[in-house]
Amino acid sequence: MAIIEDTQDFLDETGSMAKFTGHFFSHGLRPRFEVKELFAQCYTIGYKSFPLIGLTGFIMGLVLTMQLRPSLVSYGVQSELPVMVGIAIVREIGPVITALIFAGKIGSSIGAELGSMKVTEQIDAMEVSGTNPYKYLVATRVLATTLMLPILTILGDAVSLLGAYIGVNLSSTTSLHFFFTQVFQSLSFSDILPAIIKTFFFGFAVGIIGCYKGFNSSKGTQGVGISANSAVVLSSVLIFIIDLLAVQFTNLLGLN
């Protein structure tokens, strides 16, 4: 029966991924640390992703403001526009959209790069050269995604709020100071902290899934394509699952 086989495949895959993650913690985080490679990955993953994250964040802030305005005007509460946009961006839309774009750019890149290295035996060559691929390839990339996504999210939120400010000014005149004062007065640490903390988990998910898919790429170029694609799909789904769990968790802690 196909459904039984699919279930078995799913469980196999989940077990294999859990084992890979366990291997990351047991082998990847031991000395000697690949500090130089970690910085190189932080530069590639973080710095080089900022233009895309910034652009999409800016458009998102602008569009969100333009879409919300008519509804708020109809209720006569258009003055609350900065507050609504600010809360929406900082608490939910900013982290999730940034993480999804990050998964699309970085998850696919890691999956394809490591998949290609796997099928051309470069990972084996690395091992033969006395380098632990888990430390050099996996640990550096996973740490870089985990550390860089929160920073990108903060920057993305900032650019997004700037887009929102321009959106507000398209049909009314509001000063930058007034706009941001309204936004920050409406936000508390219980809005910002959980939103930032969950992005560490988003980043970890993107990194570990990209590496797992790349490391388990089957032979051939088709396999590399499948690895890249499934890395994006799976990490995007996981981002939503982690988001759901994070909301439940913050509710339990009374942070909402």
């Binding site: 051309t120 035996e121 470069q122 084996d124 060559a125 033969v128 050269s129 006395g130 380098t131 632990n132």
Partner: protein, 260 residues
């Protein structure tokens, strides 16, 4: 073939070699239900070139990957300079690997790095105390050995198939290994380049006194390089002898490999 290359090939001696450097005893390796190696035995001596032949999927690459510790055998011993590779912990395995070079079939050069960085990579990993000057000298010597000194700042994508193989060989030799495992060194190369690689392998073996296991389907390569030929069939060492001995064998299975 060039006169120099011919001379190098013809001068290859088949004299008796030194003590054993690799001893494989009762090696078993399976993938699922497919038993690839079953009770495989082999001894390689100092400065000896052993060529392993066999059908595709016979387990030749599996054999050398077990020797270098990339694959773990199900049972059996693989003694490299007396150390049983499957029993070694990662640090001990790294030490043994400094004595073994591995030339991958597809070269396995890091395509995001220049030729220099490819060659520096194993040096920096194994010998962390080297100064930049020492590293530069070793990189230069390794590339000089393969006649590609001018490619040092090029990317692998800019090199031809033969040049890639030479750079991969330079990377393999940079740690001055005592044993080199070649996985189909001439596959995918034209006959002229194949002969150049053959003569290069022999030249470097003479220079560094290495022992080798060479996986090959290329009969010219086998004839040029082999001190001894092993035929791996059905997971066992089916035949073991010199090229001439096997070429004149009356066994049908052996004859298949030598018929043009």
């Amino acid at each position: 073939m060039t006169t120099a290359a011919k001379s190098e090939l013809n001068s290859k001696d088949n004299v008796a070699k030194g003590g054993p450097v690799i001893v494989i005893e009762h090696l078993f390796k399976r993938f699922g239900k497919n038993v690839v190696l079953k009770d495989f035995n082999l001894t390689v001596h100092e400065e000896e070139n052993v060529v392993v032949m066999g059908k595709s999927g016979a387990g030749k690459s599996v054999l050398i990957k077990c020797i270098i510790g990339l694959l773990k055998p199900d049972s059996g011993k693989i003694l490299v300079f007396g150390d049983n590779v499957p029993d070694l912990d990662p640090d001990e395995l790294d030490k043994v690997r400094t004595k073994i070079g591995f030339l991958f079939q597809a070269n396995a050069l890091y395509d995001s790095m220049t030729v220099r960085e490819n060659l520096e990579f194993p040096l920096r990993r194994h010998w962390i105390d080297l100064t930049q000057r020492q590293v530069d000298e070793m990189v230069s010597e390794a590339l000089d050995n393969v006649g590609l000194k001018n490619t040092v700042d090029m990317m692998p994508a800019e090199l031809s198939g033969g040049m890639l193989k030479r750079v991969a060989l330079a990377r393999t030799l940079i740690l001055k290994p005592e044993i080199i495992l070649y996985d189909e060194p001439t596959t995918g190369l034209d006959p002229v380049t194949s002969r150049e690689i053959d003569s290069l392998i022999l030249k470097l073996q003479k220079k560094y006194h290495t022992s080798s296991i060479v996986i090959s389907h290329d009969m010219n390569c086998v004839k040029n390089i082999a001190d001894r030929v092993i035929l791996l069939l059905d997971g066992i060492c089916y035949a073991n002898g010199t090229y001439d001995e096997l070429e004149h064998s009356t066994d049908e299975k052996i004859k298949q490999f030598f018929e043009q």
